[in-house]
């Protein structure tokens, strides 16, 4: 399984390097075939990885034995089941490792990444004609960075991959984006870089905090070792709060949580379709994943003390604000972009409920949002490719012209809204249920987001696809409905939406042990903060207006 993990990580990189090397001799047609082969191979590997991980987990449930050999101490909050450790740079007390591993959560996220990358390649098939080889190389490098984040269990390695995703996405937006692409790319880059450097400072502080203590872990940057050590030697509350805020900074911007979201709509609107798919589908999850992997295990008291009230509140504001903004948009891509802010709000709300339901819901929401918003961006891209506009006022009744796209649009919208039986429902319900136990007011306010979500998405569907047929100007010939290639790009996402909605069991089984470890750790923290919650109510309502 180690080998499988490496191959998943290596294939996109190798394909990208090949594409760059033979850039000049590859025509667009060939470049995209190379890219799709590389992407599919990576997808295949990650599916194998998922399947083997799942079967190994099932076996261990029967026999009650630890499934795979692991050197991680049982005290650790993070329990990667597959590991590969190799010393990278030992500079004094600080030792950086190439520490790759997967657990249930990361294996699912890796599969999501590889799947969305293939969809992104397929959807760019016709629309990217200019410098195609470089485009696909950037997309595949982005995939490497994302897979790398999900499988690194070393703090600095995590950060390295976290930063590495910036460069390819910067190019994707700035070269192949819309009119305002340069400004969007620069804003995205500097904003997220500034946040992640604060995160890095916080991470290094934690590492050095452990390094001065003679009982500190031998390997300071290893996340499992560090979390096990901090369990026994918690950081003093005051310092923990400061560090929590510092480390959160980069993640808050990445998610993005309410006041830090301004880069996102611009980046989404200007990015090419493939960029939007990966940005919304996976890249934003790096933020919530970072919270889950680093902030909750390392700073449990601060998570309870300020994570729940403050970030919970910001998420609620984000849900309502994002939904209202989405409601006000006339550009359909901007609408989907703002809906991302709202949906990620649910994800963060669940996460900072800090109980099993909430975190499970949050992880599900990460995957669900990846699938449904990825699919929504694919549909927006299809419409834009046909009519070269995204203004909802210019189109109406497209269902008669594009019946197959309309079917998918309705289906995906239902999933995104959270119709029971589809994936969105499971994730949002669990998140809100978890939050209800932690703070009913937040949960109640968050629920309004579901209603608003239905409002803006259904309005958009109704405006664009139903009513009398009004087509934007698009040349003489009729536009074609969805072709097999586009079908191939979107169908797997739709199937997964249905599958997770009907039968979330296998997925939940897979992520349960990892979430349980985090929750057990968090539950040791005295929850006196929960009593303070009702006093927050007036503030919530005031900001929600």
């Amino acid at each position: 399984m180690q080998a499988l993990l490496f191959i998943t990580l290596a294939i996109p990189t190798v394909t990208a390097v090949l594409l760059m090397l033979f850039r000049s001799s590859l025509a667009t047609a060939n470049a995209r075939w190379v890219a799709v082969c590389g992407g599919s191979l990576a997808l295949l590997c990650s599916v194998f990885l998922l399947a083997r991980y799942h079967s190994a987990g099932a076996m261990s449930l029967e026999s009650g034995m630890k499934p795979l050999t692991s050197t991680v101490s049982p005290d650790s909050v993070l329990q990667p089941k597959v590991e590969y450790v190799h010393t990278w740079l030992k500079s004094g007390r600080m030792q950086l490792d190439l520490y790759f591993g997967v657990d249930g959560i990361s294996v699912a996220m890796i599969a999501l990444t590889t799947l969305l990358t293939v969809s992104a390649i397929l959807i760019s098939w016709e629309s990217i004609q200019d410098r195609a080889a470089e485009f696909y190389a950037a997309l595949l490098l982005l995939e490497t960075g994302l897979v790398g984040v999900f499988c690194s269990f070393d703090l600095i390695l995590f950060y390295v991959f976290f930063e590495m995703t910036l460069i390819p996405l910067f190019f994707l937006i700035a070269v192949w984006g819309g009119k305002e692409r340069k400004w969007a790319a620069v804003k995205f880059f500097l904003y997220t870089l500034a946040g992640s450097l604060v995160t890095l400072s916080g991470l290094i502080y934690v590492v050095l905090y452990a390094s001065v203590d003679p009982t500190g872990p031998a390997n300071l940057t290893s996340l499992p070792a560090l979390s096990a050590w901090l369990k026994a030697h918690p950081i003093p509350a005051q310092l923990q709060t400061t560090l929590f805020i510092a480390v959160s900074m980069g993640f808050l911007i990445k998610v993005p949580v309410f006041p830090f979201h301004t880069w996102l709509p611009l980046a989404h609107v200007e990015a090419p379709t493939a960029g939007s798919i990966v940005l919304a589908g996976v890249l934003l999850k790096l933020g919530s994943y970072g919270f889950l992997r680093i902030c909750l295990p390392l700073f449990p008291e601060a998570s309870v003390a300020i994570g729940l009230p403050v970030i919970g509140l910001l998420s609620v504001i984000g849900i309502i604000y994002g939904s209202l903004c989405a409601l006000a948009q006339t550009d359909i891509k901007k609408l989907v972009a703002y809906s991302s802010v709202a949906h990620l709000g649910f994800c963060m709300l669940g996460l900072f409920a800090l109980n099993t339901e909430g975190i499970t819901g949050s992880v599900l929401q990460m995957i669900n949002h990846g699938l449904s918003t990825g699919a929504l961006f694919i549909i927006v891209g299809m419409i834009y490719e046909r009519y070269h506009t995204r203004e909802m006022s210019e189109m109406s009744g497209l269902a008669t012209r594009l019946p197959r796209i309309a079917v998918f649009m309705v289906f995906i919208s239902m999933s995104s809204i959270g119709l029971p039986g589809l994936n969105g429902f499971v994730g949002e319900f669990l998140s809100l249920a978890g939050m209800f136990r932690a703070n009913p007011v937040y949960s109640a306010l968050g629920t309004t987001g579901v209603i608003l979500g239905a409002w803006y998405l259904l309005t958009a569907v109704q405006k664009v696809f139903f009513g009398t047929l009004v087509e934007p100007h698009h040349g003489d010939h009729d536009v074609d409905d969805m072709n097999p290639r586009e079908f191939l790009a979107i169908a797997p996402l739709a199937i997964l939406c249905l599958w997770i909605g009907v039968k979330p069991g296998p997925l939940l089984d897979m992520i349960r042990p990892d979430i349980k470890a985090v929750v057990d750790h968090l539950e040791k923290v005295p929850r006196n903060a929960a009593e303070g919650a009702p006093s927050e109510t007036p503030a919530v309502e005031a900001s929600a207006e």
Binding site: K90, S91, G92, I167, L190
Partner: protein, 508 residues
């Protein structure tokens, strides 16, 4: 004849430098006879001189590899681990600079250009090898004087002349400061020998002498800050970088910084009576001063770089800010390392930063010179417009080096900055924390203008179709640098071990 034997032994310690100097002599002597009275030379003469220079550098590198490490100081030379590290770094940088110069120089002046470069390299090595204040000063001058000639040879227009004169005057001025400071040190201790000086400095009592020593060190710091392009001694850098040929800018961005830090690390510990670099850290007053200079240099360099339109000026400011980053390592030194022996040390981080910065910076200038032509060299950012379409490979390699300078993974620049940051952060004083935070903040500011370079190459349409003459050796140098930038990121351990050994940090 014991004197002769001593001389013989001492010469045995500096074989690489002797090889370089011998080549310099041959080139200066032979070159005038190969150029006609009107200044015409047979076509392709520069290739012969280039081959000779490379051969000489390779021989020097071979001699350096074979040189014994653990020899006691003989006469004026002390070839310790520190000198070994610096010599390797300069010789390899010398090879890269030779490759850039190969394309840039003209047949008639090739010999002199190459010879000056070799003399500069030998000068850097002498400063590192020297066991004597006089030797250090001679080494510094051996760097400066050929630099004037090299700068003047590169281009012959008014900008180049202005740049050269500016550099010449300010360099002499700074040398005078260094010499004045060194003579005070001599006056106080009565010796120029570094090992003797160390012994006598220990017995220096706090009081008048101590204050004089501090004043002397501050003068030396001021003089050397000119070479480090530390604010406020940086004013020449943008004008000079803009005025001279890219090959000279590449040299100026790196070697003066090396020689400046080497001289600082030779003189400062000795004057404080510390023999081992690993146990040394600056006195509180010096540390405060250096930290202040570092903070101002980083920030000022980056903020000024933001508003540049000329790419060479931009890189000059970027080079200034990198000087500031390195000063962080010098300010932190090893006060933390003294208490916990294997903790991250500022000096080791500095030693790691120097070569990484060197390859990235030389790479950027190599590729800039490869992208331009003799008639139309790259000057403003507009000249780089659409480089990704006209020269895709050059643009890609240039972006690797530029991302390296900005300190993003996956480049060696990231690890170099990380080491500095960790060293500063772990020292655990208010000043060092401020330094670390300033470093992180500056990385963001710097990203803005580095992104602009990337931006114009990739996101702007090409304005003119520049049909560049093939500049294969510059491209080769750029390719080596950009690959090395990534390789250092992937395999950093050996470089760190060497850097730590250079400052006497024993690795477990």
């Amino acid at each position: 004849m014991p004197a002769f034997q001593d001389l013989n032994q001492a010469a045995g310690l500096i074989i690489p430098e002797i090889i370089l100097i011998a080549t310099v002599c041959i080139m200066f002597l032979a070159a005038p006879f190969l150029v006609s009275e009107t200044g015409k030379a047979s076509a392709g003469l520069r290739h012969r001189w280039g081959v000779l220079t490379s051969l000489s550098l390779l021989c020097a590198l071979w001699a350096w590899l074979k040189a014994p490490l653990d020899v006691a100081a003989i006469g004026p030379f002390q070839p310790d681990e520190f000198a070994w590290y610096i010599r390797g770094m300069t010789l390899i940088a010398g090879l890269l600079l030779t490759l850039i110069l190969w394309d840039q120089t003209e047949d008639s002046i090739a010999a002199e250009s190459f010879a000056c470069l070799l003399a500069i390299l030998a000068g850097v090595n002498f400063v590192a090898l020297s066991n004597d204040l006089v030797g250090i000063f001679l080494g510094l001058e051996m760097v400066s004087i050929p630099t004037y000639i090299l700068l003047y040879l590169g281009r012959q227009d008014w900008m180049s002349r202005e740049a050269t004169i500016k550099y010449f005057l300010l360099s002499i001025f700074s040398s005078a400061f260094v010499l004045f400071g060194l003579s005070w040190v001599f006056g106080l201790t009565g010796t120029t020998n570094l090992s003797l000086l160390t012994q006598r400095a220990v017995s220096a009592q706090p009081g008048f002498e101590h204050a004089m020593l501090s004043a002397a060190l501050i003068m030396i710091l001021a003089g050397l800050s000119f070479r480090l392009t530390a604010v406020p001694f940086h004013y020449y850098a943008p004008d000079v970088f803009q005025g001279v040929a890219p090959s000279s800018s590449a040299m100026l961005s790196f070697l003066p910084k090396v020689v400046g830090f080497v001289a600082l690390l030779q003189v400062f510990p000795a004057c404080m009576g510390v023999t081992k670099l690993a146990a040394w850290s600056p006195a509180d007053s010096t540390r405060f001063l250096v930290s202040l200079i570092a903070i101002i240099t980083m920030t000022f360099g980056n903020v000024m770089a933001l508003r540049q339109k000329n790419v060479l000026r931009l890189l000059a400011w970027s080079s200034i800010s990198h000087g500031g980053y390195m000063l962080v390592g010098f300010a932190v030194a090893s006060s933390f390392g003294a208490t916990i022996p294997d903790a991250a040390s500022g000096l080791a981080a500095l030693m790691f930063y120097l070569p990484v910065y060197g390859i990235m910076s030389i790479g950027v200038f190599a590729l800039l010179s490869a992208a331009g032509t003799r008639q139309k060299p790259i000057r403003s950012l507009e000249d780089l417009h659409g480089l990704s379409q006209t020269h895709p490979a050059t643009a890609l390699m240039l972006s690797v080096c530029v991302f390296g300078l900005s300190g993003l993974p996956p480049t060696g620049g990231f690890l170099a900055k990380l080491n500095l940051f960790v060293a500063a952060w772990s020292e655990n004083t208010e000043m060092s924390r401020t330094l670390a935070m300033t470093l992180a903040l500056n990385a963001v500011i710097a990203a803005a203008y580095y992104l602009r370079i990337i931006g114009v190459m990739y996101f702007e349409k090409s304005r003119t179709v520049v049909d560049a003459e093939p500049r294969s050796t510059s491209v080769l140098a750029g390719a080596i640098c950009s690959i090395a930038t990534v390789m250092v990121f992937l395999k950093p351990q050996w470089l760190w071990d060497a850097a730590a050994a250079a400052v006497g940090l024993m690795m477990s």
